[in-house]
Symmetry: C2
DNA sequence: ACATAATGCGTGTATATACCCGCACCTGGG
DNA sequence: CCCAGGTGCGGGTATATACACGCATTATGT
């Protein structure tokens, strides 16, 4: 019976383990998978505000703000003022873009490992199910 | 194409969101879903050492040690010395057992919400896929 | 028995994450 | 014009998480 198993516990555990796998692959590039993900979101979005980016990533605003500081200190992102004096705009720096590109093959390898474990069909199925929960 | 989507990012995001859902349900019981999970593991296992429990939960040993301190300060778990002077044994206190029992209906509700979203078939499928990754 | 290896843990350090609170700043209604 | 409410953000605090390192203890090989 799966009834007594906590779905959340399974999710958290898998997230930890898979994150370790990706982090290992990204070792030597100076970013972990959370930062990799942030940079990818940033490359895809057009100069989002902190709140917009946080919303896009499903992160709390204050969490994203703190995560950004680490990348800012490393020169990978920059924060500029928006037209509104309240909000700030997040920018992917050239270094950030370069770092992301450099790390992408390693990410691809980690992703391939996982797909090899799951098979493409189950990979698609997993992503579909995860999207239902987001 | 799903090829360009990061499985790990999806996993982490879903874990965050679902954790928030469970945490919300557990509000008022003084434990979050990570702690709930720890207490459940502890109830299931027989006086594990820190390493054994960490292994069972797929957590780093040092992480579990720190998580235990929070619960210990709240009187929900206790740490005793094992026969080996190196290792320590983790015990679920009576308060811990009671707290767990008290929180279980709320957990059940959160779990039910999720199953209603997924359906039982997809719930089983999700858990099966997550176990492949652990 | 002794030296070496393995085991179990704690600490230091760093990042990730969330919630609450408060401070600016904008926006509408009057 | 001004004031109430909404918006965007940072800081405080707490927990979760991992890795590297070191210390004490136990096990092992000769």
């Amino acid at each position: 019976m799966l009834t007594s198993e906590c779905i959340c516990t399974h999710l958290r555990r898998a997230a930890r383990g898979v994150s370790r796998h990706y982090d290992e692959a990204l070792e030597g590039f100076g970013i972990n998978v959370a930062q990799f993900s942030l940079l990818r979101h940033l490359r895809r979005l057009d100069q989002p505000s902190i709140s917009t980016l946080a919303e896009a990533m499903g992160l709390d605003r204050s969490t994203l703000g703190r995560n950004l500081r680490v990348l800012e200190a490393d020169g990978l992102v920059a924060l500029a003022e928006g037209q509104d004096l309240r909000n700030r705009i997040v920018l992917l720096s050239e270094q950030g873009r370069a770092r992301l590109q450099a790390a992408e093959p390693a990410w691809e390898q980690a992703q391939s490992d996982l797909i090899q474990t799951l098979g493409e069909g189950q990979r698609d199925e997993l992503v579909r199910l995860l999207e239902m929960l987001a």
